[in-house]
């Protein structure tokens, strides 16, 4: 029956990583597809004063004012001017809609459990806690980011007392 198939599907899905990968400083990163609401072109960002550099400001997303962060700067990667490939990834984390600027959107990928390893215990460019795992696909290495953790850090960065 239809329903039975559906159940089977979700069961299998649990073991799969459905990801959207993107480029940041020549390397490939990914978010879980379920974290992402939409991807939009770069649009006018209204800056807000007194904020760390990685907090670019706010954008108008269909009448809603939402925060924009520069993911490169947040992860302490070298800065880069926006170009026509630059995209804004709109995500929902902890019931807050936030958006992150990335260099380029790559593709939707599916990895099995066996293709994903935990972050290695060596010093990495970015905070290890922000990494959910390392995915391997066709010889490429994809860093899967932990969005909740990143947002936690952002909240800590702006020093506000909100429940995360």
């Amino acid at each position: 029956m239809e329903d039975a198939e559906e159940i089977m599907d979700t069961e299998v899905q649990d073991d799969l990583y459905q990801l959207v990968s993107f480029k940041l400083a020549e390397e490939e990163y990914a978010f879980k597809i379920t974290d992402i609401q939409e991807v939009i072109h770069v649009q006018a960002i209204r800056g807000i004063p007194q904020m760390p550099e990685f907090i670019l400001g706010v954008i108008n997303l269909r009448g809603n004012v939402i925060s924009v962060f520069d993911l490169r700067k947040k992860l302490h990667l070298p800065a880069k001017e926006f170009d026509d490939k630059t995209k804004i990834v709109v995500t929902k984390v902890d019931d807050t809609i936030i958006s992150l600027v990335v260099d380029e959107i790559m593709e939707n990928i599916t990895l099995t459990q066996s293709q994903v390893e935990p972050a290695p215990n060596v010093k990495m460019k970015i905070n290890k806690e922000c990494i959910a795992g390392l995915g391997k696909l066709k010889g490429k290495l994809i860093t899967i980011l932990n969005l909740e953790k990143i947002h936690e850090e952002i909240i800590a960065d702006v020093d506000i007392n909100v429940e995360v």
Binding site: M1, D3, A4, I7, A44, R46, G47, I48, P49, Q50, M51, I55, V58, I59, N60, G63, N64, V65, I66, S67, T96, I98, I154, I155, V158, D159, I160, V162
Partner: protein, 938 residues
């Protein structure tokens, strides 16, 4: 059934056809859900609540219609199915494979019955087997195989939480379950609180010596209403106490004289107890309290009153226990209010109609529905309490149902509508909608009498021991009242408010687009002008060529003709093109669109105002509680105090009134406790012995001004200053430079309290600093005026609404900012040589005083354009009510209404920016927080 009303065969056939079509859909979803459920149960999983509800609803709906058209077998069968499903969804029964089997069997029987109805026109099929199976499963016997362990062991709790929310009203089971009650709580709390306030007010008035016989009627009515609604939410404690109060009042109102003091005191006690209890309920405590002692006091009083002859006949009149509370025509929900309006529009009379379903009737809800259907066929049911879905079929008591009913039929004709087996007409009163005075139902009386024969024929009415009493009570219930308000969910209004905000934004976007379009047209026009020029020069060329050619005629004609032709073609083409690109049509369209946009602008601002108006409530609701507060405090501290209130019908946003209660309470306490001298002190001066506290409100532009003043000793600036110094709030140096006004402002400093001794009333930790903060959180300001020996006056200024503000839009370094117009006092032009520096601060001279210019870059890190030495500057002068500073802006855009949007959580700590707004062109503009900027600048 012996019913006075019979459907014609045609009518019946039509209904049956409709019923069959409708049932088909429900059968389909029933079938789908059962299959799905079976699959899930066999797989050891839980069936979704939604699906169970869907099935329940299907069975319930079929049952309802079937019983209406007398398809007894179908209604019986579906009723049983409904019972099974109801138990399952309430987790009173496991959803097992057996249950599925039983439901499937019933489903098959039902399909067969419907098939029979289609072909034979009746539903006389045999369903005994299915019914027997249902009976077995309901009684817990396993009909066939033993229960499957998988299903049986399944824990019931995952499903427990959901059902309340997902079940739409009409599908509610007939039993008045807890979730049903939950819906009443909110309404109950609100109604009862309003009633308590009114009760309090009347008691206070009477205590003051202002007595009207109507008051007693009103008190009686309020007690009665509280009793009734407490009954609905099953609060026996409240019901019991309000019943006792009602009894007392019932006796008193006959006497038409002011109650004795001990009675008033007891009534105060009673209403206070009710108030406390309702507050507890509101804060989530649902435990019943024990009103035992109070009830005893009331009983004692009752006994004493009964001893006097006047009271005797009254007290014996028992209140009508089983009766639902009268429908309050003033408390209709929106749907009902619309119906009432409709009825009024048709100029139809409105009646209060009460019927009772006999206690012996097995399917009371069904009978109620039948009555409802009948009534709605002949008129409009404005309200029905309780709804048929809320009637408990298993109850063995008589069920009384109240209708607010309107019909074009004469009053005498109405009893026929409800002449149904096992239903009796209890009362029928006409409500005179035009009658202004609520307490004098002169018109209603003869009509009620006309209804009397119908009522008298019924044994129940005849049994009423004191007829006069009953009639009187009915009269007060049906007292003609005008519908002036209705209840709307605040969330709905909030949503509407947001939409209105979006509309304003979209409107602005239209204006913007129109402007762009106009620019586009004017540039097209320029292009056309260019075309014309080219065309002209081409003509010139043509003539010149003709001349040249004719002078060189001898050279042969062929070249000449070709050239001529070529030039002519080009000329023609230019002419065509320029004609085609005429802007006339588009200009006309733009003109029309401009007009439409202007209309839209007016409409959207009207809508916005309208929506805002709906959120506006009189401040009376907040003020009225202070009458009691002042009385209580004055009694406790033995001062003679009078509270003067003015402007209580001043309206403001409901949200703000909710927030105002606490700060005002505190300020009034202060005024009575600290502001006013005690009686001896007052005697010593020339002041009247009675102190006066004044509480008033009025509109001033887009603000509401609230004044709390007393005629007491006034604030002593030096005493305050010393205190502040002692408490190390300020330094001695600072003190010396302070004006009296500034010194008085110190009472708002955190940790300040002027009371020399902390009494139980004031100084319980909520200082004036908290009051100020609360007012500021509403974007309001507090101002003090005080004269020694004459009194103190606090003036609050609060914007009427929080969602939309008038703002001045300015450009600072290519970014748009909004300044609340409220805080802009003026705009001045300044030449560079007029700016000088005092202690490093840029300052200008504004008339006869100096004004410092805020450097936003330093204060809140907003960059400002570097301006050339010779450039004229525009300075916006902003104020927080006390201080003024200037902000240099690069450009002024103008005034506009903007919708405030809060910034995302990440920007909570940003100073100097209070929010954002979206402009017509989609850009975001930041709203500057004037108060914070001035504070930071100092």
């Amino acid at each position: 059934m012996a019913e006075s009303y019979e459907m014609s065969d045609d009518e019946k056939q039509e209904i049956i056809e409709e019923f069959l079509a409708e049932s088909d859909q429900y059968l389909q979803s029933l079938n789908d859900c059962l299959l799905k459920a079976e699959e899930l149960i066999k797989g050891g999983q839980t069936v979704e609540k939604d699906d169970i509800n869907l099935m329940f609803r299907a069975a319930h709906t079929i049952k309802g219609t079937a019983s209406f058209i007398d398809l007894t077998t179908i209604s019986h069968l579906t009723h049983e199915m409904e019972t099974v499903l109801d138990r399952i969804r309430n987790d009173q029964m496991d959803f097992t494979v057996e249950a599925i089997d039983v439901l499937f069997a019933a489903f098959d029987s039902l399909s067969a019955l419907l098939e029979r109805l289609k072909t034979e026109g009746d539903d006389q099929g045999d369903v005994s087997e299915s019914l027997e199976k249902i009976r077995q499963i309901l009684s817990g016997e396993a009909p066939a195989a033993a229960e499957e362990p998988v299903a049986a062991e399944k824990p019931a709790e995952p499903a427990v939480e959901e059902p309340q929310e997902v079940v739409p009203e009409e599908s509610e089971a007939s039993s008045e379950s807890d979730e049903e009650l939950e819906k009443y709580w909110a309404a109950f709390i609100e109604d009862t609180q309003q009633n308590i306030e009114r009760f309090d007010e009347i008691l206070l008035n009477m205590e003051k010596g202002d007595f009207k016989p109507d008051y007693l009627n009103e008190l009686f009515r309020i007690s009665h209403t509280i009793k009734g609604s407490s009954g609905i939410v099953k609060r026996r404690d409240l019901e019991m106490l309000s019943h006792k109060m009602e009894d007392i009042l019932s006796g008193m109102r006959e006497k038409e004289e002011p109650p004795a003091e001990h009675i008033t005191t007891l009534l105060f006690k009673g209403i206070d107890w009710i108030k406390e209890t309702v507050n507890e309920i509101q804060s989530g405590k649902r435990q019943e309290r024990d009103p035992g002692e109070l009830v005893q006091e009331f009983e004692k009083l009752l006994a004493a009153e009964a001893a006097s002859p006047a009271g005797a006949s009254e007290v014996s009149a028992p209140a009508d226990q089983g009766q639902a509370p009268a429908i309050d025509i003033n408390a209709l929900n929106s749907e009902q209010a619309i119906k009432l309006e409709e009825a009024r529009g048709l100029k139809q009379a409105v009646y209060n109609l009460t019927i009772a379903v006999s206690e012996k009737c097995p399917a009371k809800s069904m009978k109620a529905m039948l009555a409802k259907e009948r009534l709605s066929k002949e008129g409009i049911i404005i309200a029905m309490v309780p709804e048929e879905t809320a009637i408990d079929d298993s109850s063995t008591a008589k069920v009384s149902i109240q209708f607010l009913y309107s019909t074009s039929e004469s009053q005498e004709g109405i009893p026929a509508f409800v002449s149904i087996d096992e239903i009796e007409l209890v009362s029928l009163d006409k409500i005179d909608m035009a009658e202004e005075k609520p307490a004098e139902p002169a018109v209603a009386e003869p009509k009620a009498a006309a209804a009397a024969p119908a009522a008298a024929a019924k044994p129940q009415a005849a049994q009423k021991p004191v007829k006069k009493e009953a009639a009187k009570e009915k009269q007060s219930k049906s007292a003609p009242v005008e519908v002036t308000s209705m209840r709307v969910d605040v969330r709905k209004l909030d949503n509407l408010m947001n939409l209105a905000g979006e509309l304003v934004i979209t409107r602005a976007r239209f204006s913007q687009l129109l402007l762009e379009l106009r620019n586009e047209v004017s540039s097209t026009r320029q292009t056309i002008d260019k075309f014309r020029e080219i065309e002209n020069s081409l003509m010139g060329l043509k003539m010149k060529t003709a001349e040249t050619v004719s002078s060189a005629e001898a050279n042969g004609g062929q070249d000449r003709d070709e050239l001529k032709k070529m030039i002519e073609t080009i000329g023609q083409k230019f002419q065509d093109t320029s004609r085609q690109t005429s802007t006339k049509l588009i200009t006309e369209k733009i003109y029309n669109m401009d007009e439409a946009t202007r209309n839209l602008e007016k409409l959207s601002s009207d809508i916005q105002n309208g929506v805002m108006q709906t959120r506006m409530v009189p401040i009376e609701g907040v003020f009225s509680r202070f009458k009691r507060l002042v009385r209580d405090i004055a009694k406790e501290i033995k001062k003679d105090v009078k509270l003067d209130i003015y402007g209580e019908d001043t309206e403001l946003d409901k949200k703000i009134t909710d927030e105002l209660g606490d700060p005002l309470t505190h300020m009034i306490r202060n005024a009575v406790d600290h502001g006013l001298e005690n009686t001896e002190e007052r005697k010593a001066t020339d002041k009247p012995q009675q102190g006066t506290v004044t509480l008033g409100a009025m509109h001033k532009g887009n603000n509401i001004c609230i004044e709390i003043s007393d005629d007491g000793k006034g604030l002593d600036p030096d005493k305050i200053a010393n205190k502040a110094f002692e408490k190390e709030i300020i330094t001695e140096d600072a003190l010396e430079q302070m004006s009296d006004r500034e010194k008085m402002g110190l009472i708002f400093a955190p940790g300040f309290s002027t009371a020399e001794q902390v009494t139980g009333l004031s100084g319980r930790g909520v200082g004036m600093d908290v009051v100020k903060k609360m007012i500021e959180s509403l974007n309001g300001t507090v101002d003090i005026e005080s004269e020694m020996g004459q009194g103190t006056s606090f003036k609050l200024k609060i914007p009427l609404t929080l969602a939309i503000i008038q703002a001045l839009l300015v450009v600072i370094d290519n970014e748009v900012f909004a300044l609340p117009l409220e805080s802009v006092s003026e705009i001045v032009k300044v030449m560079p040589d007029e700016v000088y520096r005092i202690e490093g601060t840029a300052t200008i001279k504004l008339r006869d005083h100096t004004l410092s210019l805020v450097e936003l870059e330093k204060v809140i890190q907003i960059e400002q354009k570097k301006i050339g030495a010779d450039d004229e500057r525009r300075v916006v002068v902003i104020t927080d009510g006390e201080n003024q500073v200037g902000i240099c802006v690069d450009e002024l855009i103008g005034e506009d209404e903007i919708v405030i949007k809060s910034l995302p959580v990440h920007f909570t700590n940003v100073i100097g920016i209070s929010g954002a707004s979206i402009l017509g062109d989609g850009r975001i503009c930041l709203i500057l927080d004037v108060g914070a900027i001035i504070k930071e600048a100092q």
